[in-house]
């Protein structure tokens, strides 16, 4: 038996240390811990690496701190378009969705597409329809919106209007 291990990231657009409030610091760290513990619990119960990564990513998709799922960034039209993928190292199978607007947990659908094998990648409303027809939760696009992302969108559009978009921080761009 191999000794299991799980590693995660929540994005490299971390809030600058000076701006990191104790509340956000705590919220982010506890969400990372929850994702690690949920995925690792599967690994030590004998589940596959694919099960573990899907579980850990879903926890972070559901947490508003991170730019994925609930808490995702908004495109310039004020709409969420979600992308996700999963790849299994044993079989080489992979699945992905891009530009999805209604899938609550895109990583779960990516996992199912990896198992289906073909198609591998579905986009937009076709991805949403495939998810719904295969029993996955679909929600209104507004489900993914948080006040922080609305504020970030206004900031970025204002920067573009003023010609200062190049100076945007990773955090303003990605959150």
């Amino acid at each position: 038996m191999t000794r299991p291990v799980l590693a995660i990231h929540g994005g490299c657009g971390a809030i600058p240390r000076a701006d990191l409030t104790p509340e956000v610091n705590h919220a982010a760290r506890s969400a990372l811990r929850r994702a690690l513990q949920a995925g690792y619990a599967l690994l030590i119960s004998g589940a596959s690496a694919a099960d573990a990564v899907a579980e850990a990513v879903q926890i972070m998709e559901d947490d508003p701190v991170f730019n994925a799922g609930h808490g995702a960034a908004l495109n310039r039209d004020g709409v969420h378009e979600l992308d996700a993928s999963l790849m299994d190292g044993e079989s080489g199978r992979a699945g992905a969705v891009a530009g999805a607007r209604r899938i609550r947990n895109p990583v779960r659908v990516a996992r199912a597409l990896a198992e289906a094998g073909d198609p591998l990648l579905l986009i937009g409303s076709a991805a949403d329809a495939w998810a719904a027809s295969h029993g996955f939760d679909t929600v209104d696009n507004a489900h993914f919106t948080t006040p922080a992302r609305v504020a970030a969108l206004h900031t970025m559009l204002e920067r573009e209007r003023l010609g200062t978009a190049q100076g945007a921080t990773e955090q303003e761009k990605h959150g």
């Binding site: 799980l6 657009g13 690690l36 730019n67 039209d77 979600l82 969108l153």
Partner: protein, 134 residues
Amino acid sequence: TVGAVALDGHGHLAAATSTGGYTAKPAGRVGDSPIIGAGTWADDRTCAVSGTGKGELFIRLAVGHDIHARMLYAGQSLEDAAGGLIHGELAALGGGAGLCAVDRSGNVTLPYNTGGMYRGWIRGDEVYVAIHED
């Protein structure tokens, strides 16, 4: 963007990535997260990788597959292969970037070239979580 990589008890690897993209992105723009070989890669012979950052650059450099190739064909360690891209080509192109990766032996690397990256790993009783240097 969020991502996870894992090595299970049977020695198999997997990677997953999920994102909203970036704020004020053009409608229809797709980054590296759903592109296998760019933002996500897993192969039991080498490693599992999940990326975050300037997606257009991860696609152009096929980052996930390139880390795999540097290990498989050039014999590089995971740390050297992943760090080489994050602090080398990606930094040189001006792209904010980071990733989490694990290899078939269970080695983990979490390089990034921005001011901070939400990250962590867990193995046995050890749990590591960080945002900036710590």
